[in-house]
Symmetry: C2
Subunit: 383 residues, 2 copies
Amino acid sequence: MPLTDDMHLISVDDHLVEPPTLWLDRLPAQYRDAGPRIIDLPIQSRPDDPPANVWQYEGKLFPQIGLNAVAGKDPKDYGTEPLRYTDMIPGCYEPHARVIDMDIDGVQAALCFPSFPRFAGTVFLQADDKALALLCVQAWNDFMIDEWCAAAPDRLIPIVIMPLWDVDACVAELRRTVAKGARAVSFSENPAGLGLPSFHTAHWDPFLSACEEADVPLCLHFGSSGQAPQTAPEAPFAVTITLFGCNSMYSTADLLFSPVFHRHPRLKIAMAEGGIGWVPYILERADYVWNRHRFYQNVDQRTPPSELFAEHMFGCFIDDVHGLGSRYEIGLSRILWEADYPHSDSNWPNSRKRAIEVFADIPDAEVRQMVETNSRELFNFPR
Amino acid sequence: MPLTDDMHLISVDDHLVEPPTLWLDRLPAQYRDAGPRIIDLPIQSRPDDPPANVWQYEGKLFPQIGLNAVAGKDPKDYGTEPLRYTDMIPGCYEPHARVIDMDIDGVQAALCFPSFPRFAGTVFLQADDKALALLCVQAWNDFMIDEWCAAAPDRLIPIVIMPLWDVDACVAELRRTVAKGARAVSFSENPAGLGLPSFHTAHWDPFLSACEEADVPLCLHFGSSGQAPQTAPEAPFAVTITLFGCNSMYSTADLLFSPVFHRHPRLKIAMAEGGIGWVPYILERADYVWNRHRFYQNVDQRTPPSELFAEHMFGCFIDDVHGLGSRYEIGLSRILWEADYPHSDSNWPNSRKRAIEVFADIPDAEVRQMVETNSRELFNFPR
């Protein structure tokens, strides 16, 4: 009897599309023009169509409003990025509608990553005016806590982004948002990919210590390093989508051989959307390398990588049959479920139906742990 | 009773270090100076030590003679690249000594990749004088067939490299070497990484057709795209070693979504040293992506990636417990064993001993298939 009716599905990787006035509603008057806002842009190749909705920020245009928000579409229609809010179902950008879509999907609670700011808010890292950028980060976090999650506090888990360019500002923003309810931070899977100091430096220590003190985990979404797996200019995008989990493998190996967990023994990190089927391979390989190569390198000499993983890290999966078959190797306590609404990996509106199939041969207690208990514990989000 | 005494271990990934006069012995007189030869170079920081042996080619120095040829060393002494031939055991560069080392290791037959030319001979691709470079490729192939493998034709499997800069020359060199006994080609895991046309172009078709006609498989060694997994400048090299299998994942996804197998229905490709534990995850993920994203992309609309893999590709492993546990998902016929002598991943002189442990719970017939039969068939290398 897998996935019984009383089990809550908690998704640790969903996405929201920012409503058009998120920043207009929150930024001081002098920043209204430069801050992110939606403008209407006629489509040159289709002049008879209604104009597209496009983010404008510091005078630059950001044409992808929804990062492939395809929930409810037929796969045959994928590939066409939504051009307007009216091309999306309202659950993408409106919290009450989202909760209804979660009901349809059989999902109890969700952690929603940003769209326009990118998964870890890196659009603001790349901005010119960092005073404005800090206000933009704060505005997104306030929206997340005060408006998005406030619409259904038992259904939506507050996750916040950080002003990545300033580690002291990260500490301050973490404390400010935790005080008002933040339960997770969306951070970069590899800051070095963004031109920032890597996990192998001491740079992030004050922030990581603040996360430990607040008992707030980091969620590292694949792609949040600004890097995407690419093989060749002509390769179909399917290659990149297939390989995105490699970003999470990179990040996992990078962290396991870094000083992060030795300096921060209570830190927890979840690899959002990375899948779990690769975890046994990477941990076995990391231990193999550690056994042979630790002696001449600046690597912890006592704790094998697999033990660090078991203590600190979590794999997250949407639909990973091989990964579930390997759940004892990964560790039942290390596995979190996700729905990925409204992206193309999602099974919406059939997430629960698909989960019932995927969990068919797995004992009750194990299913409950993976879909609900692990997440409630990690995010301090009790029933 | 796994790995019984009558089963031959066939290693599809070992390495040889080129003897100092390989090219001097074979190049026409006018090329003796510019062609690869070993020179003695005093070590500035240790002037009392004997000089290092260094390859010189077209006036440039290539300080790594052995690409981490550490067979026989204690892991505590890894990290120090051999500086001289006398720092290595003779089996690295001398075929009769190699066969003795294989006997010690319990290995019946081996396929040996180049060292100085790099896995797919890409040093010659980057050379200035392409007439000389072609002669260098031919010299290596002649050494491989006439000297290395001729020393023990039932123990050493001839693998050749190609003049990658000229597809017609590749066809000619393939035919020339096949006529004298070549059984495999060491090719690039991703030519696009080398600045060459990718697998998604028609560029390689004449060469791939020639491989099909000759029934010669391609061996794509990880790293042969010129790319190495890197996360940060300060990351210990252990991160890169742990992640090298991601190169094989990239290459597998790249090929499965390319036209290569549709255009070349008899082509076979082995992913040398890539490991196998990741194969079920990547195939499941590739099929998932294919199911959702094939419609709007230039992707084969009929054959799921997992079926293409089952028809065309092989995973190769040294010591992959998770991969062996997943052998039915990977496909027993898709798995090849390897020893990796004399590199740091190798278990030499305990390869057979370690294999007995790894195969302990696997039925006889399955073990034989993975360690011997699959390879003998793929490389046309009967008992």
